[in-house]
Symmetry: C2
Subunit: 523 residues, 2 copies
Amino acid sequence: MTGAESLLRTMAAAGIEVCFANPGTSEMHFVSALGAVASIRPVLGLFEGAVSGMADGYARVAARPAMTLLHLGTGFTNAGANLHNARRAKSPVVNVVGDHATTHKRWDSPLKSDIEALARPLSDWLRMAQSPQTLSADAAAAVAAARTAPGQVATLILPADVAWGRTEGFALPRTVVPPPPPSEAAVDRAARVLLQRGASSVLLVRAAAGEPRGITALERICAHTGARAVHDLVAPRALRGASVYPVTRVPYRAEGAVALLAGVTDLILVGAHPPVAPFAYPQFPSWLTPEGAALTWLAQEHEDEVLGLEALAEALRAPRLGAQPASVKPATSSPVPCPRGPLDATAIGCSIARHLPQGAILSEEAISNGPALAAQTGQAAPHWHLTNTGGALGQGIPLATGAAIAAGSDRKVVNVQADGSAMFTLQALWTQARERLDVVTIILANRSYAVLRAEIERVGARVEPALAGKLLDIGNPDIDWVALARGLGVEAVRASTAEAFDDCLAAALRRPGPLLIEAVLSR
Amino acid sequence: MTGAESLLRTMAAAGIEVCFANPGTSEMHFVSALGAVASIRPVLGLFEGAVSGMADGYARVAARPAMTLLHLGTGFTNAGANLHNARRAKSPVVNVVGDHATTHKRWDSPLKSDIEALARPLSDWLRMAQSPQTLSADAAAAVAAARTAPGQVATLILPADVAWGRTEGFALPRTVVPPPPPSEAAVDRAARVLLQRGASSVLLVRAAAGEPRGITALERICAHTGARAVHDLVAPRALRGASVYPVTRVPYRAEGAVALLAGVTDLILVGAHPPVAPFAYPQFPSWLTPEGAALTWLAQEHEDEVLGLEALAEALRAPRLGAQPASVKPATSSPVPCPRGPLDATAIGCSIARHLPQGAILSEEAISNGPALAAQTGQAAPHWHLTNTGGALGQGIPLATGAAIAAGSDRKVVNVQADGSAMFTLQALWTQARERLDVVTIILANRSYAVLRAEIERVGARVEPALAGKLLDIGNPDIDWVALARGLGVEAVRASTAEAFDDCLAAALRRPGPLLIEAVLSR
């Protein structure tokens, strides 16, 4: 078999089920080998930034590594922004980056670049494959690296002649070592803090925010000690909804985080890092832990947060909850009334709360409208909330696309998407159409980089109105999202009032396949 | 004034006239300072890959440095593929990349990345600004680096507090040192070769292919010695047309280059490097200089090619041409008949040959259709031909956009654009609409990565038809380019026959502003 086939057989044996791809000439033998490994599903993206965002979304929902196929250094670079976001989410992603044949790399051909240098700052693990005989072992090592807790981005560079060279057989995948539980000493330390100062303590979790058992343990601990449960901005997913024990997300804005943590004496870190402001602002600190507050680590990021929380609940002798812990309670019938009048993020959040099906996945890149939305969507039926973890724009559409590939046909995906960010990776809409994915995309059309208009004053700058119009508004001409979606094969409608939007969303969630709603926000 | 204002005043004094931008929070003081420096025109791009491609197109046409404004490491990464292409074209580009405030960089905030590591592999010059007082000198150094012959990509990283800090005055720009002429010894060596073996020699030029004086000198030399004139794949622009002395482009395909250079005994290199195949193929060499042929450098890449060619013509005592050298002869009335029947690249090339106005700019990213097109467009009125120099897809639309900004309202820009590549940076269409640029985009809609279908066999691979359909075709669903263009504010029409296309193109070139023609190619 070719090296490429031994690589793919190894990947398949190691649990890889999907290859998100944008191939080029140097990857033709890899593409050929995909024909021999039927268990890996190829999914084409029309731009590498869409490919990497899909991989991130898939990994967050499937809880198994995603694979990408990228073409040369510039293909990797195009994937870079969403790989940055994936790394912040600790999503397990294996990139296979095709390279020129080793015999060709001595020449300065037009597409040559230093792929290792380009990939290193965005990869937790990086290797240049050397021969077809060792390629299978490289593949096994790459998947093992991606799976290393809490999850990593692993990049394997594959020269064309290593892919097309001959080899025999393939390696068995490495044993996956599950993340270890936190030490007893760490559990005891956290328990002592909570017993002494529970009411002024905050438990800051990361991955546990997306795990029913994690939330159940948090509920037990908080009910028993008076502590509050908060989750990190970079949590890969959060389980939220009307009947779910609420775990507050650290606000993106520094002032919100300062307010949330005011008066806190102890921050118990569970797989999370102490919170930091996204940017420097003259009037707010960058380091958001209140002065004098103590930091206590229950779980390091490579440790099992859920086991840590369960051990902590036991150490605290926190009473067990009833037979139906919050995270699996059936959704109560929604008390949210139909929004009326002007269309804004609050109205859209209400409609989502009314119509989102239980078990749905809400991919949110709402930027300036995020807080108003989140205030409403917490009332929806239990769902997973996926957000932009790394702040690089253009995550939402591909994230929703990859999430839908992982979720299959029994879970709806709703992507609430700022218009400015949507423009960065709109190509992923086409993949939704080709793969007939159940994704409803809601474009929040305010025709502006509204977050920047708000940030000008916060960073102490002033911008002339004419100049702000030129660089911070994205109207003139207005982007027609209905046309863009249809151009990419996705049905689309437009709504300009709260009532019309509510009808559109309800209808969209009843039909299969992708649909886009351009929500023209009131100005 | 702020550091940002001193930077911009320096840039303006150094000849920067346009800032292609996609700003974020860390660039708000830079945006603010743009209000104080009216001579720099801000042009918004809705994705950084569009921004960098515009800068490349601007630099190639204006022959002065272009400036970009990018947001953090991921903004730079998004710009990366077209910066790779710009570097291959030796386009002078100055990137200003906003960074977190220096006081904030100690924290691992979500958007933090190692910008220097990300930018280094794609920058010829790189500096992290340290203080507002030295920022003006940094800016002068950046422009000087970009202008350093033959042209470079210079990246200045600008922490937010360096931008907002106070400083007095600004530096004068550095003196621009023009590229030196080649040495007399090099001229004499080339002359001796041509006098002895002119008929079996090839002159391989780079930048001279886009200069009337360069082409005139080539014509003199070739007429006198029997040598042939060829230009590099990575020439930033080529002057072509019915009445222009023909300088052949090195074919992209290795077999074409092998055929072109068969029997050549001497390759005279004029600012160009010896040709290399884009990829490794089992049946073709990577190094395309024929075995036994001698390489003679007339001009190194930092030297003035035109002065070298003129000196060579004089050393050869080549007769001067008539009062009207080829490159400035008026276009003869076109003899090209209207194409008829099925729509293919040849028909489109004929229509371009019929209707392209003199002095137009033809931005071509036609990929698999490139050779058939070029065979026809050589008959058009004299024009500049701009191509994808680095092979990273998604150059054509932004390149045409930036070229149109540089060209102003008196020169039409026509972008002949493969559909697969167009998807990478379609966002630039919106900038054409906002800036009301005279760009006609022709989408070659074959619904396929056709070049890859051709490459499979050439690299010795086989791909199952069903798999090829999944990964190499971009139909199912077909992309509706008329809808996409309208969605981005650009008028659009569709043509499916040669006659209809000819009518569309003629009409498009008569009206002002951007227009897109989806040319549905016969299959």
